[in-house]
């Protein structure tokens, strides 16, 4: 009896005005975030005639759009292109950013600070400014309209290097010295000892890099010309330019395009918050 009364009393105490306001704001924010996604899925289940009917649950839901997107046109190819680009660039970033970050964090050598500052300073240059030299470079080396052309600017990033350096600095030197005494070479120490200790940072970097490349639009649009090399975001725009705007097709493509990002997020979500906080991108 007393325990139940206590519990009830505690629940009542929890209902405070501040708490109610916070939850209300969070709820509104949540609705604002989720509504476009729901409309995306909803529209993807509608026929062209129904798309301006704004009811969330379609009158006659159909999977015909999915069948069309997946069987006709080049959507599967674009999906594959995006997958290749995002996966290769992510793996490359995990490898090279952490290798550079580890070196900068754990070795003392002349010019170490200068190199780090030089890498960091590239963060201040906006992509729009870099696109012209990237394009000229791609044209000279014959990388235009190729996978490598899409991927090369992102194979390592200053942000990833910075993130990994910060994380590696938290790894105690004793671990590395113990490994040295146990006879490991420097590469093995990095790979077998240091890397497993920074899994949260690697997961965060994987998420950021994958999402960034999966949704990348500007550079892939510039560097690709043939339709079979389009990535998903570029491909989806072709639904808008060729046969007027086919909203149901765009939404179906977009719905399919969110699946990998959702999977990546679900797999690594517990690391996201830690990674974001460490990168100083709180908010």
């Amino acid at each position: 009896m007393t325990a139940t009364a206590d519990l009830r009393e505690r629940r009542m105490r929890d209902i405070r005005p501040g708490r109610i306001i916070r939850w209300t704001i969070l709820f509104i924010g949540g609705v604002l975030m989720v509504t476009p996604l729901l409309y995306m899925f909803s529209t993807s289940l509608k026929t062209p005639g129904q798309i301006y009917d704004l009811r969330l649950i379609p009158a006659a839901p159909t999977l015909a759009n999915y069948v069309e997107v997946l069987s006709e046109g080049e959507f599967p190819r674009w999906f594959l292109n995006s997958s290749i680009v995002a996966i290769v660039v992510t793996v490359s970033n995990l490898f090279f950013d952490s290798l550079v970050g580890y070196t900068l964090a754990k070795f003392r050598f002349r010019g170490r600070r200068l190199i780090f500052i030089a890498i960091l300073s590239t963060l201040m240059i906006p992509t729009e400014m870099l696109v012209i030299p990237w394009y000229l470079m791609s044209a000279q080396f014959g990388w235009l309209d190729s996978y490598w052309g899409i991927m090369f600017p992102g194979m390592t990033t200053a942000f990833g290097t910075f993130l990994m350096k910060q994380f590696f600095e938290t790894v105690p030197d004793d671990f590395l010295e113990a490994a040295r005494i146990d006879g490991m070479n420097e590469f093995t120490i990095w790979w077998k000892i240091a890397m497993p200790l920074v899994t949260p940072a690697l997961s965060a970097l994987a998420i950021f890099t994958f999402l960034g490349n999966w949704t990348a639009f500007f550079w892939p649009l510039i560097v690709t010309t043939s339709k079979e090399l389009y990535t998903l975001p570029i491909g989806l725009t072709s639904f808008a330019v060729e046969q007027a705007i086919r909203w149901e097709m765009i939404m179906t493509g977009a719905a399919l395009a969110t699946i990998p990002t959702l999977l990546v997020f679900l797999a690594l979500q517990r690391y996201i918050v830690r990674g974001v906080m460490l990168a100083g991108l709180k908010g």
Partner: protein
């Protein structure tokens, strides 16, 4: 097993010399403890032996081989670190096994050695656990296991017990000593805890400011410290040091006296114990009690002598009142004499 020889060993960080040409010979199977305050260079010396710090001058020999230029892995030594340095992403079995990383032994032999080390250290039930699920003492044992499986020529310990609580520290001290007796291995052990040094070492090396002040068997250092620093550093509570002189045969405490008199609290007896000191050539001190610390078998009595706090010992059941004036006596044989200016020990007259 092997000897370790340091010959005029020097270490500089930039232009600052932190180890000033020290000489030391550690015998095969000997347990040597480096002791000294923070920043005295004991850990740096150990790290140079391990190969984790470059040698700026002089030589390190392990056995007959000069190892100055050798990688840590080529020196065949094992090291146990203060924070254990066992890998959190590996199980106890993997952590111990990593000690055999470069070994050319076959898989079965490696597994056998890991099991053997685990058995010796009482880690068998925990072999599949990760370090996070172990206590501090168990983690330290894993670190020792990793060092043991290699069958190294020498073990280096860098303040291995500093992170443990007092009770566990006492237990691990005994375990490490027992392990040394069983394996007969050469051990260089660094600590700032003089109790560890006294209880474990075959030989203590007292360091200060990058110099070796004194080395010898624990009781030799305790009984015959070469200077005031060593005298105060070894032994708990620290030795009382008072200015004084010699009047007739007997030492007398006197402000501004030409020599320093040292007497250990255990030798400076108070109350009924003082009565047993019949020696007239001993030291007698008087003063008001400022604090008492009953420890059970004895009572440590802090009292004031000419503005200096002195610690003496009364029997456990005699606890003087704070403020009471007491007399404390020490026999002549327990008095150490030091030069007031150089702080070095004077030959007994």
């Amino acid at each position: 097993m092997a000897t370790i020889t340091l010959d005029k060993l020097t270490k500089r960080f930039g232009r600052t010399e932190v180890i000033h040409g020290i000489d030391l010979a550690i015998a095969d199977g000997e347990f040597v403890v480096f002791v000294g305050p923070s920043g005295c260079g004991k850990s740096t010396t150990l790290r140079m032996i391990a190969g984790l710090e470059e040698v700026s001058g002089g030589q390190i020999r392990i056995g007959d081989r000069v190892v100055n230029e050798l990688d840590p892995k080529s020196r065949n030594i094992a090291m146990v670190f203060q924070n254990y340095a066992i890998y959190p992403h590996m199980t106890v079995r993997q952590n111990i096994g990593i000690g055999l990383y470069t070994s050319k032994l076959d898989k079965d032999e490696k597994a056998r050695r890991v099991e053997e080390a685990a058995k010796l250290l009482g880690l068998e039930p925990f072999l599949e656990r990760r370090p996070a699920a172990l206590s501090g003492g168990q983690r330290q044992r894993v670190a020792m296991g990793r060092a043991m499986v290699r069958d190294p020529v020498a073990f280096l310990f860098d303040e291995p017990l500093s992170n443990l609580d007092a009770q566990l520290r006492a237990q691990m001290r005994i375990e490490i000593k027992a392990l040394h007796q069983r394996l007969g291995s050469t051990i260089a052990y660094v600590t700032h805890d003089q109790v560890e040094a006294m209880t474990m070492a075959d030989r203590i090396v007292v360091m200060r400011d990058g110099h070796i002040l004194q080395q010898g068997r624990p009781m030799d250092i305790y009984s015959n410290p070469v200077d005031v620093f060593t005298a105060r550093f070894i032994g708990t509570p620290s030795m009382n040091i008072l200015a004084g002189g010699i009047e007739g045969d007997a030492p007398v405490a006197r402000k501004g006296g030409p020599i320093l008199l040292g007497v250990r609290p255990q030798d400076l007896l108070i109350g009924s114990a003082a009565g047993q000191v019949a020696d007239t050539s001993g030291l007698t001190l008087w003063g008001p009690v400022t604090a008492v610390e009953p420890t059970g078998p004895e009572t440590l009595v802090h009292f004031d002598v000419d503005g200096e706090t002195v610690i003496g010992t009364a029997p456990g059941d005699e606890i003087p009142e704070v403020g009471a004036r007491i007399e404390a006596r020490a026999p002549a044989g327990a008095i150490h004499r030091f030069d007031a200016s150089t702080k070095k020990a004077l030959e007994p007259s």
